[in-house]
């Protein structure tokens, strides 16, 4: 910017600028005369006088008495006025905060008024055209004269007296970043009086270090600083995920639109120009902090919701640690209540799962011991039943017989190789005479097998297919490597309470899923449940028993397939049975596991049936004192003569077992 100012304009400007300086110095010196040397007010007033004299020197240098002023010097002067102006305004604020008489207050306010006029002077038109590249670029001024800052916007500096005696807790933690010490001190003092916790930084690097270390609720950031300026600091704060949520209010002497836009674009919460209006500043700080509080509250809430969700996943995965929601359960809102209820439930689930795991371990141990003991016997069984199908023969061009797994009332069970699917299966042959001549029975059998095929559950032996090879009916099933519960009981005598509960629970789950599919087993007994090496129990022969049952009734031979020891009274007398007959049978199995003996024993089938129908069994707890009373009572309930007195369903029984632990 070249050129000189019109001498008359220079003279006018000199007058306009020196007049407020005259007021500042005059009033300040008067106030100083009333102060005691060494008092805080005296120091503040001396500072005002000092700054005013410095400004006077600047004015005299830029606008010399000769009237020859360059536009460049003048432009520099106008830019240089902002900081001292702010310093004097801050000092007047400090002075007004003390207790003083009306005259003192009025004089200080006049100083403030005068210092504001300093940047409200009419700027010569020669400067306005050159402004686009200067520090006032973008102010949008036009015409012969424009003001550096609109005089009408001069703020009211009056400060509401604030009690410092009763500061109950901080209203928020604020970091003030400004390279001018006076600015920091004044702002800090004022905000501290308002109840804020204040820290300050003199440069950008220091500010970033403090922001990273301490949790601030708000940053007041000066734009123009030597070294790293406010824009750079702002970018770092908003660019860091850890500090992004801290609101930043920019404070600057620059009030051009471009820098405001730049700050807002970089994530500044707000923008204030120096000298700031204390009322506006207070309002904006309050608003920013309130927003931050809501943001923090929301973030905290979401974090805690996430913890509850994670806890729910952990419960599912079995990794939930009781007390994991400690921070959330202390809340006194709905989330806290949810967390408390959840925590209590999860702790219950956790405890029960621990017990279940313990029970399963005991069952595994029983199975392991029994397997070793039983192996020889099992081998001999294979040689016993080889009369129907020879090892190596192929059934229906598909199942290659590998050996005999067992024999039953309906046929023989073989281990076979499915040549089509290249896997081992169990094949159960059905004696032909069971089906011949009764199309209705055959159809019901087929439909039951079809239903059973739909059951897919870890505690049910999967039924694959029903086949007919040259008149030989057979059912193919999942091959399970393990012992039947019968075999387990034969070797172990009886099982502990924990093992029994693990077994009973799995048995009940199998029945619950089958009953839900519309399939009643009708022949629940220790021989029809297999336990593998992992302690997983699998119930087999769903649907097949109907055949035997129907056959026995039809022939009226009095010969009951299997044993009446597991049949419910209603089943024995030939009444229509429902799912509760299976529950009765399970009661017998559990009784046997707990005591090592069946609840009813008799020398003949007829005598046994009579006992089942008429005699109350001895409660298992009396047979085995280790059996808890509640478990004993549950078994007795399962063994009720009347189906209506038993648990209503396998699902209900599952709940009752869960309550036992």
């Amino acid at each position: 910017m070249n050129g000189t100012l019109d001498p008359k304009a220079a003279s006018e400007l000199r007058h306009e600028l020196r007049t407020p300086i005259n007021h500042i110095i005059g009033y300040a010196e008067m106030l100083r005369e009333d102060c005691t040397d060494g008092s805080p007010d005296a120091a503040t007033i001396d500072r005002i006088i000092g700054v005013a004299r410095e400004v006077l020197a600047l004015i005299n240098a830029a606008l010399p008495p000769t009237g020859i002023a360059t536009l460049e010097d003048l432009s520099g002067l106008l830019a240089d006025l902002a900081t001292p102006q702010e310093t004097v305004l801050a000092a007047t604020t400090v002075l007004l905060e003390g207790a003083h008489d009306a005259q003192f207050v009025a004089d200080v306010e006049r100083i403030a008024q005068a210092v504001r006029r300093l940047t409200a002077v009419p700027v010569p038109s020669a400067l306005t055209g050159a402004r686009e590249s200067g520090p006032y670029a973008g102010t949008g001024t036009a015409g012969a004269a424009a003001t550096v800052r609109a005089a009408g916007a001069a703020p009211d500096v009056a400060i509401t007296p604030h009690s410092t005696s009763a500061r109950a807790g901080s209203k928020g933690r604020i970091l003030i970043v400004d390279d001018v010490e006076e600015n920091r001190a004044v702002l800090a003092r004022r905000l501290e009086r308002e109840g804020y916790d204040i820290d300050s930084a003199a440069n950008g690097e220091d500010a970033l270090r403090k922001v990273a270390q301490d949790g601030f609720d708000l940053v007041l950031l000066d734009v123009l600083m030597p070294g790293m300026d406010g824009f750079a600091v702002l970018e770092r704060i908003t660019g860091n995920p850890d500090t992004r949520s801290i609101p930043v209010i920019m404070i600057s002497a620059l009030d051009d639109l471009a820098s405001v836009v730049r700050c807002i674009e970089h994530g500044a919460e707000d923008y204030l120009t120096k000298p700031f209006d204390p009322v506006l500043l207070r309002a904006r700080i309050g608003a920013s902090l309130e927003k931050k509080r809501w943001h923090d509250r929301e973030a905290d809430y979401l974090r805690q919701v996430t913890r509850v969700i994670e806890a729910a996943s952990a419960v599912e995965l079995g990794t939930y640690a009781p007390g994991a929601l400690a921070g959330v359960t202390g809340r006194d809102d709905e989330l806290g209540r949810l967390a408390r209820v959840f925590d209590a439930m999860a702790a219950g689930v956790h405890a029960r799962e621990s017990r279940l795991r313990e029970q399963l371990r005991e069952l595994q141990s029983d199975v392991s011991l029994a397997t070793t003991e039983y192996e020889a016997m099992h081998q001999s069984a294979v040689t016993d039943g080889g009369d129907a199908l020879a090892v190596g023969s192929v059934l229906g061009d598909r199942y290659e017989i590998r050996g005999v797994l067992g024999t039953g009332g309906m046929g023989v069970v073989y281990r076979a190789r499915d040549r089509k699917l290249e896997e081992d299966v169990a094949v159960k042959t059905i004696r032909r005479e069971l089906l011949t001549g009764d199309a209705v029975l055959a159809e019901r059998f087929m439909s039951e097998i079809r239903l059973a095929r739909r059951i897919s559950h870890r505690n049910v032996v999967r039924t694959h297919d029903l086949g007919d090879a040259d008149g030989q009916l057979f059912v193919t099933m999942e091959l399970v490597q393990g012992l039947t519960v019968r075999e387990l009981l034969m070797t172990r005598g009886k099982l502990g309470v924990a093992s029994t509960l693990a077994l009973a629970r799995q048995f009940t789950e199998a029945l619950a899923v089958a009953h839900a599919a519309g399939v009643i087993h009708r022949d629940v007994k220790p021989e029809n449940a297999l336990i593998d090496g992992d302690g997983v129990l699998k119930v087999m022969d769903f649907g097949i028993a109907r055949l035997a049952e129907a056959t026995s009734t039809r022939t009226q031979s009095g010969l009951i397939v299997g044993t009446p020891a597991y049949m419910a009274p209603e089943q024995l007398v030939g009444e229509e049975v429902d799912a509760r007959a299976d529950l009765y049978a399970l009661g017998v199995v559990i009784y046997e596991c707990l005591t090592g003996t069946a609840p009813f024993q008799a020398p003949s089938a007829v005598a046994l049936i009579a006992r089942v129908l008429t005699v109350e069994p001895v409660p298992p707890a009396r047979e085995n004192p280790d059996v808890p009373p509640a478990l004993s009572a549950l078994v007795m309930q399962l063994l009720s003569k009347a189906a209506a007195q038993r648990p209503a369903s396998a699902a209900v029984l599952l709940e009752q077992l869960a309550e036992l632990g």
Binding site: S11, H23, I25, M30, E33, A52, L56, P65, R110
Partner: protein, 123 residues
């Protein structure tokens, strides 16, 4: 107690300077523009007039010229005050009839020195 007439249009200047002078034992009366300044000055009884140069109606130079032109009643000491403080202002003030000249911002001790010199008759 010296009786001073302060002719000053700027309220803050009037308030500040009058109070400062009163603190130093002067009686200060006020006029707010050039015409009032001339009228009050010619009422008589002033030990000294402090005349701002930038005044409405008529400026300080013109006011001074009119006071001096009034004859015997307009011969009290007049000190010109200006915030312009441009080179030549001093001569311009003295040419108009002022006894002395000082600039604003006011350096009170300097101004009091100049006033004292004019208030004390030459020995």
């Amino acid at each position: 107690m010296p009786r001073i007439l302060l002719v000053e249009d700027n309220e803050m200047n009037r308030d500040m300077l009058s109070r400062r002078l009163q603190r130093r034992g002067h009686t200060v009366e006020l006029a707010v523009d050039g015409l009032e300044g001339v009228a009050r000055a010619l009422e008589g009884g002033w030990d000294l007039v402090l005349m701002d140069m930038s005044l409405p109606e008529i400026d300080g130079w013109e006011a001074t010229r009119r006071i001096r032109a009034a004859g015997a009643s307009g011969q009290m000491p007049i000190i010109a005050l200006t915030a312009h403080a441009m080179s030549g202002d001093r001569d311009k003030a003295l040419d108009a009839g002022c006894n002395d000249y000082d600039t604003k911002p006011v350096d009170l001790e300097r101004l009091l020195g100049k006033m004292q010199a004019l208030l004390t008759p030459p020995a």
